[in-house]
Amino acid sequence: MALPERWKNKIVPADPSEEIMELQMGPSHPASHGTIKFNLKLDGERIVDCDVEVGYLHRGFEKMCEQGTWTQCFPYTDRLNYASPCINNVGFALAVERLLDIDTTERCKYVRMIMSEVARIADHLTCLGMASSEVGATTVAFYMLEAREFLYDLIEAVTGARLTVTWCRVGGMTHDLPTDFNDRMKASFARLDQVLGDCDKLLSRNRVFIDRMANVGNFPKEQAISYGLTGPLLRAAGVSYDVRKAHPYLVYDRMNFEVPLGDRGDNYDRFNVRFQEMYQSKRIIEQALASLPEGPVTITDPKIVLPDKEKVYNSIEGLMNHFKLIMEGIHVPAGEVYQAVEGANGELGFYVVSDGSGRPYRVRVRPPCFLGMGALNKMLIGRMIPDIITTFGMINMIGGECDR
């Protein structure tokens, strides 16, 4: 799409004769989602410099993971990107399983993939809904949050929780899909389609919205790669990099889907890439459900997976097995693995190191939105204060993941 002249040249250099004002925006600011502070230097409303401060939500995720067993890390991973906790669960489980050199069942791979994509749609709805509300399109925000509710119902039906799912385990999951999952999915998707159609009509050709988004926060290809951006931010700049395609995990290589791309790398492209990705995720889920294999979702290795409750209560072997796994944890052989999955915001990597004991020696998360925040300063210099809101919204900073 060619841009009209009035959208170009939004960057104006600061006038050195003007007095520079320092302003601290956040961390208690509705648009900073409560956890980010911008130390701004302003020439009028023009941003001369912007120091982005993160860390207000630091809970010591990596340190706490070293204190418990491998299984006890799962609740912590929920609280990374809490808009799509299923993906974090899956990423961590895959990393530990690679360290153990085990392969999960076919059905497990499909179910994990389905839930990752449901989580991705929910995450994009959160991001786009909030970003729309911040530019005044509150109606869209409520539509999208309502659509997210349908997906949370699905997640709740599978995992038993809406947000803190703690649903993956090393070697499988706590629950299989419910028997009526197919029908629930169809019902949810029918309503989701309606909402997405409405939001598309409300926003995609909306003059006010495009004025706020197009040609704002541009980050060209080379710079985006240099700053380590991944996910929708990188794809909006026209780089076709998706972990699901480049380094397929689970059964993504059997699925037929496209990677939506932008060309200018501005906020409008980021919005569109996320919007199109939701349709692609839907495609993946529909294909996966159509070819979902039967069978168990968890492997049966007693050194890794807890025994059935019946065995625990009725036999001494089962009880000992349970006790050893709970008290000592899974014995993961010494070694290290970096496992990347495509999170909703980009490449979510788990670098796990084991020293051979039952506890993780080191768990490192490569948070995609932390890198996005690192580039925010470069996206903002020379722009106006209102551009902070849209650009920050499109990075989709999730405090739990950025600050850990």
Partner: protein, 166 residues
């Protein structure tokens, strides 16, 4: 194999090369750090244009104590590499990669914040997740997870900006 190619290209810089669980890892001498990374980024056949992650692992019983761990990815060739640089505990430092990748800026600041490893040549090396007056380096193994920190006096950020104008 990438590790073989690297051993041929940098016979003196590489201390160790291995493949574990499908991940290719090389351990590199710190003093050759920046040439090595520049070659990895620019030379055809390597083309690692994405610096994915910078972190460290603390091994208090080993000598040298720290391992600075880099993860690289090539978007053009689709391969990954892990590079490790062993670093001594006393005055731990490595060369900064900020001149090569923009992402090194924040990733190195975090590694400094968590492990106290200095990145020589970093333009703005200060704490990022922790506050400035935080004592110690939380991800070192000798920092107890339940250690308490002294109460910090409230500072009026208007009178005393935390990060004064440069």
């Amino acid at each position: 194999m990438l590790t073989e190619k690297l051993k041929e290209r940098f016979p003196d810089a590489i201390l160790d090369a291995r493949i574990e669980h499908g991940d290719e890892t090389v351990t590199v001498n710190r003093d050759r750090g920046n040439d090595f990374f520049r070659a990895l980024r620019d030379e055809p056949g390597f083309e690692f244009n994405l610096l994915v992650d910078v972190t460290a692992v603390d091994w208090p019983d080993r000598k040298p104590r720290f391992e600075v761990v880099y993860h690289l990815n090539s978007l053009t060739l689709g391969h990954r590499l892990r590079v490790k640089i062993p670093v001594d505990a006393a005055g731990a430092w490595v060369h900064s990669l900020t001149g090569l990748w923009g992402s090194a800026d924040w990733l190195e600041r975090e590694c400094f914040d968590m492990f106290g490893i200095a990145f020589k040549g970093h333009p703005d090396l200060r704490r990022i997740l922790m506050y400035d007056s935080f004592e110690g380096y939380p991800l070192r193994k000798d920092y107890l997870y339940n250690k308490r920190q002294p109460v910090v006096e409230e500072i009026d950020p208007v009178v005393h900006p935390l990060h004064p104008s440069k």
